[in-house]
């Protein structure tokens, strides 16, 4: 029975060992998703706060942990065959860590807005990344993962001069990393809207709302098309894209739209999470971690098949 390059249907193909850097909300949710993965084997969680709940949960799941930051992980990389690392810390910390891990041949999936590497938005460009052997890919932002697929759904029908997204998240789901990186979020997401969404010009807005009970993440997308919008084609394209995203984020819902008003096309989305670590309202985290796991699994398959042999690389 040939398995070859097919999906890992049997557990013959060993999973690829990975580390998670950052034991906050995102890192911990990532851990639970990675534990369910047929392609990834999480072995380490790295944090900086010994009292962090994420580190305790990781130990409870049998993972190794450290509260001493990335430098405490480095000596274990070769011995524990860590080939992929997910980073969910902050832009500035990732920038410092990236070169250390690259030097040891570890492929990074960056969930901060540092964006050292190219952007990956799985329903739009996952396939493009396979075979490129990139040592660092960036997941843009939670708002980006929720909205760039919709922008792309419009731009694949016709040219969009400008696309803007408004991400509204509950205060409880925005941790210290997000709060320190508000500017980086807006810049990186706007860039992602242009480079991956293919709008000529992009803008991103983020709003935190402290309402109790916590609101479920909302994302609004406004596109300004060059020519009169082809309403039927755009509507069909958006619905197809929503269905794509729902395959890995079932709580991704089109609440209203597309609304057509002259050359404005507006779409109103809601993103509810799976509730792996944080409750369902934190759909912003879930779409990020779900997308990052998809990206990580793609890398794991490339490594497993021998198509990608990550090597230590000077920064």
């Amino acid at each position: 029975m040939a398995i070859g390059r097919q999906e890992n249907l049997m557990s013959d193909t060993p999973r690829i060992n990975c580390a998670i850097i950052g034991s906050g909300n995102i890192g911990t949710d990532l851990m639970y998703k990675a534990l369910r993965s047929r392609w990834l084997h999480p072995v380490w969680v790295v944090g900086i706060d010994p009292t962090s709940e994420g580190l305790a949960l990781a130990r409870h799941q049998g993972l190794q942990t450290t509260a001493e930051g990335i430098d405490a992980l480095l000596p274990h990389i070769a011995r524990d065959r860590i080939q992929i690392a997910f980073e969910a810390t902050s832009a500035h910390i990732h920038t410092a860590n990236a070169s250390k891990l690259k030097a040891r041949g570890v492929v990074m999936v960056d969930l901060t807005p540092a964006a050292i590497g190219p952007y990956c938005v799985p329903p739009v460009n996952l396939a493009e990344h396979a075979g490129r052997g990139e040592m660092n890919i960036n997941m843009v932002s939670c708002g980006g993962q929720a909205t760039i697929p919709i922008v792309a759904a419009v731009t694949r029908v016709q040219a969009v001069a400008y696309a803007e997204i408004v991400a509204t998240v509950s205060s409880r789901s925005a941790g210290p990393g997000t709060r320190k990186n508000i500017d980086e979020f807006t810049r990186t997401t706007a860039n992602g809207i242009e480079k991956v969404g293919k709008a000529r010009h992009g803008k991103a807005i983020i709003i935190l709302n402290p309402a109790e009970p916590p609101l479920i993440m909302r994302d609004s997308v406004h596109c300004l098309t060059d020519a009169e919008p082809d309403q039927k084609a755009i509507e069909r394209s958006i619905r197809e894209m929503v269905a794509e995203v729902q395959q890995y984020v079932p709580g991704f819902t089109l609440k209203n739209g597309p609304v057509f008003d002259g050359k404005r096309v507006s779409v109103y989305l809601e993103v509810a999470g799976l509730g792996d670590y944080l409750p369902k309202y934190a759909g912003n985290l879930d779409i990020m971690t779900a997308a990052a796991i998809r990206a990580g699994e793609m890398i794991a398959k490339e490594i497993s098949s021998g198509r990608f042999v990550p090597a230590p690389t000077a920064a």
Binding site: V166, D183, Y268
Partner: protein, 344 residues
Amino acid sequence: MTGKKIILHDMCLRDGMHAKRHQISLAQMIAVATGLDEAGVPLIEVTHGDGLGGASVNYGFPAHSDAEYLKAVIPSLKRARVSALLLPGIGTVEDLKVAHDCGVASLHIATHCTEADISEQHISFSQKLGLDTVGFLMMAHMIEPEALAKQGKLMESYGANCVYCTDSAGYMLPDDVTARIAALRRELRPETEIGFHGHHNLAMGIANSLAAVEAGATRIDGSAAGLGAGAGNTPLEVFNAVCHRMGIETGVDVLKLANVAEDLVVPMMDRPIRVDRDALILGYAGVYSSFLLFAKRASARYGVPSSEILLELGRIKTVGGQEDMIEDVALNLARARKDTQAPA
């Protein structure tokens, strides 16, 4: 209150942009700003209604960029200094740099009243530039005085030399203002100034501003002729006259400011700034003032009463910046109406 000295900060060229759908012309900006300067108004805010970087589909594209407005106004002033508003999440530190390069002397960095910690990079950047740095806590009616004071303390720790209690929804009554200003005064360092920004949706602008001064605020925001979001800001020329009557020193000439309001600002209005039904409901329900015109437009487009839209926005506890939810709510309400009207 006799002998108290306060700074009047005019909002008609920034909050007034909301009332004008951000379409104030350069000529209008220069005329009004120079008139205010002549009257002795020391500080004038000039920016898109939603602050630096606010130009967007969500809030509206302005007639001119912030840089164009600032470069037109600042060189024409003799004494008055110009401030700019910034909301982290909409504008960035890059926008602050541009404003500073244009000659802005004061930066007002605004967050929802519970989210001061998103403003750390902006406040500290502004302070390092040596600018008058103001932390602006919006929708302050939505948290208790002690909690507001803690958020103000955070902004002070990042480098703000002044903290504002902002009644963005025009929801507060004088006792609400007194409690919040007093809490800020207790919590903040003595050298940190306190300001109050009122909206007139329950016609409480003047009373609230007096309560703020009584409790220790030394900066009061208002707009000439009240030109601002919702039912407008505290009408500045009226407040100025009241201050003169009470012996509160503003340094602003009563007649000259009244002339600016009557002769320059009122003719600019697209519609009279007043507590109309929608503004009243908005204030009563505690909804962000800039939602007013959006709610009126959504009402016209989708056939749902604007009061229903505004009440729903209040019920779901929307905060400043959530203009996108207005069309979303209107669509939901329109659909619900259609469903209840559908034949069995």
